[in-house]
Amino acid sequence: MIQLIVFLPLLAALVAGLGGRAIGSLASKLITTAALFASCALSWPIFLGFMSGNYAGGWVEPVLAWIHSGDLRVDWSLRVDALTAVMLVVITTVSALVHLYSWGYMEEDPDQPRFFAYLSLFTFAMLMLVTANNLVQMFFGWEGVGLASYLLIGFWYHKPSANAAAIKAFVVNRVGDFGFSLGIFGTFLVFGTVSIPEILAAAPGMAGATFGFLGMRVDVMTTLCLLLFVGAMGKSAQLGLHTWLPDAMEGPTPVSALIHAATMVTAGVFMVCRLSPMFEVSPTALTVVTVVGAATALFAATVGTVQNDIKRVIAYSTCSQLGYMFFAAGVGAYSAAMFHLFTHAFFKALLFLGAGSVIHAMHHEQDMRFYGGLRKEIPLTFWAMLAGTLAITGVGIIQVGGFAGFGFAGFYSKDAIIESAFMSGTTTGGFAFAVGIFAALLTSFYSWRLIFLTFFGKPRWAASEHIQHALHAHDHNDPIAENAGHDTRPHEEHAREVPTGTGGYHPHESPWTMLVPLGVLAIGAIFAGLLFHGPFIDAHEGAEFWRGSLAFDEHLMEEIHHAPLWVKLAPAFVMIVGFLIALQAYIRNTTIPARFVGQFGILHAFLFNKWYFDQLYRYLFIIPAFGFGRIFWKVGDEGTIDRFGPNGAAALVAGGNKLTARLQSGYLYTYALVMLLGLAAAATWAMAR
């Protein structure tokens, strides 16, 4: 069964990708979508089986031998346990819905077989990642999703910005993979195996051991965990290696929902949870994970508050939420991290697909300054996004006395993370808690800002170039021009007043293929927390559910119920504050943002330019790399090696240019002669002996 789940998408990808031209668009879409729905239908029983305790510890299905070299034995195999099962349902569900959604969203695109093939290929790679029983197969999935991400970000390959973003994503991820690779090498050196269960079993025995690394004597487990974590940072866009994620929004929106929100970017969190018994051995590594996660949560949330592009706001939001997951893992609440990963997959995919529906309605305009008042035009999209917003901001009522609490998905998972950080009792935990609270305020603010700018107020559509394009050139249907249009307008530094008016444009609600996925995900965003918090984070149910597939901390999960009341109420309080600020600034007095920018221009510029990371990396890495390349080439190869090597020899022998004329005949002759003479000498000598 697990084989079908994993390999159906691969099969569909191959059929649609290689045979797409032969079988046509419709057949390609049918095959890939059907394969994904089949995978999804097969995944849920597995997940529910683990929920009900039928499958206990899980199992491993061997597939094929892979790399055998001495004591290194790597095989293709599929591992199924509770942790895998969670990922299976997340991946196949979101992927199936995104496939369906893409029927509507990509309808006008001439390259649909290619698009659907890439989506299915991605799903296959992601499934290989989460079913890996050894680090090398995990790396296979890791790089496979990287390839699919590269292909999908650059799907509209006519756009220079899309190509640049695709390369950036791949290369920045490779920086992470550099760490991941060294981590795998080191793990093999230390444990003599790359099999995950064997490593996890042996890890506690390595506590306190040291080894030589780059001339230093360092703690074994800390070094290995940090190297592996560098890989996680790359894939999950953590601070320092996050720069690719916002640019990845160049890809079609369904891609952003599937890859850059729900699944691929959570691979790093999955990896840390999968290897959690390893990380547990190194408190230093866990501290680093906590600090990096918290810093990312804060950084991305601050940047998210000032972005104008609707997809970029959600992208930074994703980055920030991934930070939450990492600091949850860092304080030892792996189950809470996985729970947030699970709920986040639903509500973030929902937000992205909702944004896609808005963009679809607004004729590929992505700038929220040209939205406004869309609530009445596309009501279903509005309600879906509202559900997503309630989920991400964590709206809910805590259980008081006899009243059963209720909350949207994020209410359960995010609050569990924040409480875990507080109750972990460490200094870094306290730091993470404070950051988590502040970032929750920002989350609420930017999420509501998005809703208010998009759906409320007066329409500001008339000034949009895309809308203009739609109004005046609607008859010649040129999807490439639509896709290409966006990067032509320079990003504007300052929020300026955009004139209101519809320009006579009528946004239209999306087709059912797009609305059904929104509806399903909205149900998930509303109920996923309520329904599943037991098995994920309850102290007793959780231990039964996870069964050692991650380092489940029963004690901590019990403790969070005993958090002080103010700790429990703090997230709700800041959520309301964030909502009120957004309400004040974007509904009641819309001059506030412009005045803020006027007053705190430097701060705004700092945030708007994403803390200047891109500029910094440009001067630190990209320009020097090309510069050194040119120096090595012109000064090294041509100016030194050639000048004193072959060219110098030529000058010595024949005094310069005259030589070349004689080369063709002369030198071949000489060469053969020297060789023959040598051989003759050898033969003579051999005979003479």
Binding site: G70, Y157, S181, G208, R217, G636, A672, V674, G678, R689
Partner: protein
């Protein structure tokens, strides 16, 4: 004679040689078909050879030995390593002939003869068991290559072939002197016997350096690599394929056959020379590749970086490193060959190698774009392709030898992705806004077949490398048994914490056992 009852290796040498002779006297078209036929016969013989090879059997198989004069004898025989490299040669040869089908327009019979002669000589290098026979094949193989560049090459072909010649001459003279000394010392020209000979450590260093001079140029290693970009740029497509596919592997084969097993102490002593040059090569040539404007130069520089993965693996003194190096050799042979074919395909249409002249080929050449992407990813070392298996194993081996080497060399996976994807962007992506580029047709059947065959093997090697590792396993074991005494050991030296725990910390993997039978 051997178990088959007929001298298969001599036959494989003879078929292309005879065909080469006949080629000179027939018409253009006959020469083409004759060359294709002869190379296909050799491919068939090669497949038969692989099938008949007894994994786990004696080290040297299909042995032939006919004394010629003095100690010099016609001694042939192969082990698993030689077998795989022969397979690489006979697989690429028909593809080279097909690649030259219509792009070579003058002196076709001579051209085909040169290629067939080269095939004979390449198989000879890998099959030779007499050290002087090896030397003849090794050096003579360069003559047809020299002709191919010098006669059928591009505008700067004279300078390129001169450089090619100068570099290789220097190395080969030193190697010949070293061989003479060795034969004098051991009293035999037989390679299997020399492999058992313990040369005095004080002599080893000089001998090692003499061989190194030759192999480092062939491989090529930094800083004696500058002949390669020029040779590639000027060579016709098929010439580049053979140059990158097989001739560069001669250096690696030399290290495996001579330097390591014959001079293990010197190999350990000069560990840092090899590792240092390899580390420089990976970073240096990758950065140079990043700024190239000529497609062939870019791929040539990337070859230098990839060959450095071979040397770090070989000199890691452990199984993963050496097996990784071997897989890098095979996979790079296929992938760089395929990349040069990809360049050739569009060069034949537009007659320029300048990257900026292209762009947007995904629109009008979709099949080409898919295959080019596959080879780009294989070059980058994406898991699932042969490139990954090789790079992964050789870096893993290098890490066990020294963490600094692995740390620096692994940056190659970042830089490799940067220059290859940047190339792919400029060729296949972007707007198709140049009329002459837009007029280029997609792959024809011949081109599609050539690239698809290679693609299939590259994926096979990535998904189930066991087919390629199994024949070589025992021979790597033999090599390890030979060099283990000189193993400098790694830099990790794990120290357990105060609480003593009898853990199995020693996994140096250099188990010389032949019992790790394959699948």
């Amino acid at each position: 004679m051997n178990a088959l009852g007929f001298p298969i290796l001599s036959l494989m040498l003879l078929v292309p040689l005879v065909a080469a002779g006949v080629c000179l006297f027939v018409s253009n078209n006959t020469a083409r078909w004759l060359a294709l036929g002869a190379t296909l016969v050799d491919l068939a013989l090669g497949i038969f050879l692989w099938g008949a090879y007894d994994i786990g059997g004696p080290q040297w198989q299909f042995v032939e030995n006919a004394p010629l004069f003095g100690r010099f004898s016609w001694a042939l025989g192969i082990d698993g390593i030689a077998l795989m490299l022969i397979m690489l040669s006979v697989f690429l040869m028909p593809i080279c002939i097909a690649a030259s089908w219509s792009s070579i327009e003058h002196r076709i019979p001579e051209y085909m003869a040169a290629f067939l002669l080269m095939e004979t000589l390449m198989i000879g290098v890998f099959a030779a068991q007499d050290i002087f026979l090896f030397y003849i094949f090794f050096e003579a193989g360069l003559i047809p290559m020299y002709l191919i560049i010098g006669i059928w090459g591009g505008a700067e072909r004279i300078y390129a072939s001169y450089k090619f010649f100068l570099y290789t001459l220097l190395g080969s003279v030193l190697m010949l002197v070293a061989m003479l000394w060795m034969v004098n010392f051991a009293g035999t020209t037989s390679i299997p016997v020399l492999l058992q000979t313990d040369f005095p450590p004080e002599a080893q260093t000089l001998l090692w350096l003499a061989f190194f001079a030759s192999f480092a140029v062939k491989l090529p290693m930094w800083p004696v690599h500058t002949w390669l970009p020029d040779a590639h740029v000027q060579a016709p497509t098929a010439g580049s394929v053979i140059l990158a596919g097989v001739l560069l592997k001669l250096g690696g084969y030399g290290f495996i056959r001579f330097s390591l097993p014959m001079f293990p102490e010197a190999s350990a002593e000069l560990f840092w020379l090899v590792m240092g040059l390899s580390m420089v090569a990976i970073v240096y040539t990758s950065l140079v590749a990043l700024v190239q404007r000529d497609m062939k130069k870019l791929i040539a520089y990337s070859s230098v970086a990839h060959m450095a993965f071979v040397t770090i693996g070989l000199f890691a003194f452990n199984r993963q490193g050496i097996e990784g190096a071997l897989i890098v050799m095979l996979s790079h042979g296929l992938v760089s060959g395929a990349l040069f074919l990809c360049v050739g395909v569009i060069y034949d249409r537009l007659h320029t190698r300048e990257i900026d002249r292209y762009g947007g080929l995904s629109d009008n050449m979709p099949a080409y774009a898919v295959l080019f992407l596959l080879f780009t990813m294989a070059s980058v070392g994406l898991p699932g392709t042969g490139g990954f298996v090789g790079e992964f194993l050789s870096l893993l081996g290098a890490y066990r030898a020294n963490s600094w080497v692995a740390f620096v060399a692994t940056t190659g996976i970042i830089l490799g992705a940067a220059y290859m994807l940047y190339l792919y962007w400029r060729v296949a992506y972007g707007k198709l806004d140049k009329p002459d580029v837009a007029a280029m047709p997609d792959l024809n059947k011949r081109e599609l077949a050539m690239l698809t065959f290679i693609a299939a093997v590259v994926l096979w090697m990535g998904v189930y490398p066991e087919s390629f590792l199994a024949p070589m396993r025992n021979d790597v074991g033999t090599l390890l048994a030979r060099i283990e005494r000189a193993n400098p050991g790694g830099d990790a030296r794990i120290a357990m914490s105060a609480s003593p725990k009898p853990a199995a910390v020693e996994h140096d993997g250099n188990v010389p056992k032949a019992a790790e039978g394959g699948h």
